[in-house]
């Protein structure tokens, strides 16, 4: 069975970095995985060291334009296989894992039909992998559209800011409203320092959030960011990478 893990949180908390570190750790362990960038502000490819530009959004627009032509050239077009072809073409084959970028939000027309086709394609695509890791925006739009239906673990990344925790709380509420199949919800505290460690633990307790890990503020990450080195190339002994290993274990790997 494929395990689906979604990572979300307020912008700037480092959720994309956490997603990249998880992808790195799991693919090193030999898990065949699909990384999905479901944030309209696409950052994951760069963090993984990939200059991917094609997105599912482009594929959807292509099909939508094709099928809503007033006089389609081929009324009997097999739209499912055409969309599937576009999706499979967009998938970036990275060493040991695949990368899929959702990209831009849809235009103004009705995408019910295209999304319904996409849902079916995604359901089948996902079964190819041991793990799917999704970098998702806080609004969880793709989940509300049920493009990806079921999530085993939803991880909310937060920093020490009150607003980061507020977002975590709101995501909790949102999940209840979504009526998606979401297994467990966890919180990862990011950019943890000695000064804010205790405060973070207390905040999580107050809000009854299940804290699965605390990633220390890692000067190496900042350094790599400035130099433009993909985070995927971080060394195993960096303090953030070490903490990720313990999180991966807690997630059952």
């Amino acid at each position: 069975m494929t395990k689906v893990i979604a990572i979300t949180g307020k912008g700037g908390t480092g959720k994309t970095a956490v997603a990249a570190l998880l992808i790195r750790s799991l693919s090193k362990k030999g898990k065949f995985l699909l990384a999905v960038d479901a944030d309209a502000d696409t950052n994951l490819p760069e963090t993984l060291g990939c200059e991917n530009v094609k997105t599912i959004g482009d594929a959807k627009e292509y099909l939508q334009a094709e099928i809503t032509k007033p006089r389609p050239d081929n009324p009997d077009m097999n739209k499912e296989s055409v969309l599937k072809s576009k999706v499979y073409e967009i998938i970036e084959e990275m060493p040991g894992y695949d990368l899929l970028v959702m990209g831009r939000p849809e235009g103004s027309g009705c995408y019910c039909y295209v999304n319904n086709l996409l849902r079916g394609i995604m359901d089948k695509l996902i079964t190819n992998y041991d793990v799917v890791i999704i970098d998702a925006e806080a609004g969880l739009e793709h989940f509300s559209r049920k493009i990806i239906r079921d999530i085993d673990d939803l991880i909310v990344v937060t920093d020490a800011s009150r607003r980061g925790f507020r977002t975590a709380e709101r995501i909790h509420e949102l999940v209840d409203e979504l009526d998606s199949n979401i297994g467990q919800i966890h919180v990862i505290a990011n950019k943890v320092t000695d000064a804010n460690r205790e405060k973070l633990v207390k905040l999580a307790e107050d809000l009854k959030l299940n804290m699965i890990g605390m990633i220390p503020l890692d000067p190496k990450i900042e350094e790599m960011d400035i130099k433009g080195i993909p985070l995927f190339e971080i060394s195993d002994d960096s303090i953030a990478a070490v903490e990720i290993e313990s999180i991966v274990q807690k997630l059952g790997f």
């Binding site: 006089r71 009997d76 077009m77 097999n78 055409v82 027309g109 039909y113």
Partner: protein, 474 residues
């Protein structure tokens, strides 16, 4: 059947992705030419179960390379006719993907396949693959009595087949475009929009595309065949009750069922009487303009106001929600191309206004004798200018004005037209809220003064967001 073939066969492999790392060869696809074609042939021209490979066979191919690819299936049988070619061709995608380690994508002249290293290691030739696919065809579609396939992997041969096939597709497309409601026994329904418009009944027929513009009759047919319990399903059209309005007993039955009894009739090509329901995601909304007795249409892309003082979004709000709103109708753009386009209510002769952008887009389908008589925002932005334009151009609706005026004088104190009430711009609510339709309303007392106006509503739908009535102070 698993023992017969070197690889496993199961629907389980349908979404299987063969990655570059695990791929032996790539056939067709974005970097090369890929073709698939099904041809109906006389029985005696088919050598059953035969696989021919023209060009390098699998074992002669170099690992990691991309090759041009064409596969042409010839089918025969008592029930086989040319019209079935496309239906059968659509299944190639399914059946090839049932084969483990073989990925098939896209269709027609854009086919893209990959053979995995594992599967390639189990066979030297494409022959077992061809036999497996034909076995699947004959098992699932038993009316195929004989079948034979030729695979082409030689560049020049593939190019030749591609040119021939494109001509065949052209002929086939021309034929599909000529399919009409009366040529088929089955229409298709779609419930995708019921998520937000629970009483919406979307009926897709050869002469009527879905309101969103995305689903045509062929899509309905394909989807219903693959998953009859899915969002698109077959509607037996039943008896033709009225050819002009497009009323079928089967459609009426499904209207009752899908709307949970809210609607008893849906007439496919009618604007006023029991029109199609409107979901909310239609591409274009039509609106009756009582002052000119004509119909205007506004598309989603049009940002401005229609002559009735409303824009697309406010009319969409009024019309959407899966209701039959007399005086408004949501459609897909392709419906303008239908030979039955609102034929119950005058068709193109009733159309008085279109946004310039839309008019230009669909110009080829507007009858030549009416095209210059239809106003755009450049000709008319309100009722008065529209009236003047139509009069000047002598639009067909103008003829009905004089007749209506005479009638009005005679019947001034009688019934107001139901349609006029429903479509009067002043009655428009801001949101899509709508009061339940009433069969009739009690007559208003005429009041103390003699010579007051008596208004009777029949089958009226009235929506009022706010209404203030106060005594006139003299």
């Amino acid at each position: 059947m698993a023992d017969e073939f070197p690889f496993e066969i199961s629907p389980m492999f349908e979404g299987e992705r063969v990655r570059k790392e695990g791929m032996f060869v790539e056939l067709g696809g974005p970097k090369s030419l890929g073709l698939e074609l099904v041809r109906a042939k006389p029985m005696d021209e088919i050598e059953d179960d035969k696989v021919t490979v023209v060009g390098p066979d699998l074992k002669e191919m170099e690992e990691g390379k991309t090759y041009p690819w064409a596969m042409i299936f010839n089918i025969g049988g008592e029930l086989i006719e040319a019209d079935l070619e496309s239906v059968i061709e659509r299944r190639i995608h399914d059946f090839i993907n049932y084969c483990q380690g073989i990925m098939h994508l896209n269709q027609r002249y854009d086919v893209w396949m990959r053979i995995s290293k594992d599967t390639a290691a189990k066979m030297d030739s494409f022959e077992p693959f061809g036999k497996a696919v034909m076995m699947l065809f004959k098992t699932e579609l038993p009316f195929i009595e004989k079948m034979q396939v030729t695979f082409y992997t030689d560049q020049a041969e593939v190019e030749k087949k591609m040119t021939e096939a494109k001509e065949i597709f052209k002929v086939r497309d021309a034929r599909t475009k000529n399919l009409h409601d009366e040529d088929v026994d089955v229409f298709y329904g779609c419930t995708l929009c019921q998520a937000f418009a629970p009483t919406n009944v979307c009926v897709v027929s050869p002469d009527r595309v879905s309101l969103c513009g995305a689903i045509n009759w062929f899509d309905g047919r394909a989807a219903a065949k693959v998953d009859p319990e899915g969002p698109q399903f077959a509607i037996e059209k039943g008896d033709l009750l009225d050819a002009n309005t497009g009323e079928y007993s089967g459609v009426n039955d499904i209207a009752v069922k899908l709307s949970s009894g809210e609607f008893s009739k849906i007439k496919l090509h009618s604007f006023f009487d029991s029109p199609h329901t409107s979901c909310g995601c239609f591409e274009v909304v039509g609106f009756y303009i009582p002052e000119v007795d004509g119909i205007g249409w506004v598309s989603r892309e049009y940002q401005g106001m229609a002559p009735n003082g409303l824009g697309f979004s406010s009319m969409a709000g009024q019309t959407g929600g899966g209701k039959q709103i007399v005086g408004f109708l949501g459609i897909g753009v392709s419906y303008f191309y239908s030979p039955k386009f609102i034929q119950a209510d005058g068709g193109w002769n009733r159309v008085v206004w279109l946004p310039a952008m839309l008019k230009e887009k669909i110009a080829e389908t507007i009858p030549a004798d009416i095209i210059d008589k239809i106003a755009t925002e450049n000709d008319a932005t309100d009722i008065d200018s529209l009236k003047a334009f139509l009069q000047e151009k002598n639009h067909p609706v103008v003829a009905s004005w004089a007749a209506a005026e005479e009638e009005e004088e005679e019947e001034e104190e009688e019934e107001a037209e139901e349609v006029a009430v429903a479509a009067a711009p002043m009655m428009m609510p801001a949101a899509g809220f709508q009061m339940p339709a009433m069969a009739s309303m009690p007559m208003m007392p005429a009041g103390g003064k003699a010579g007051g106006v008596k208004i009777t509503f029949k089958k009226a739908k009235i929506t009022i967001e706010k209404m203030t009535i106060r005594e006139k102070k003299e």
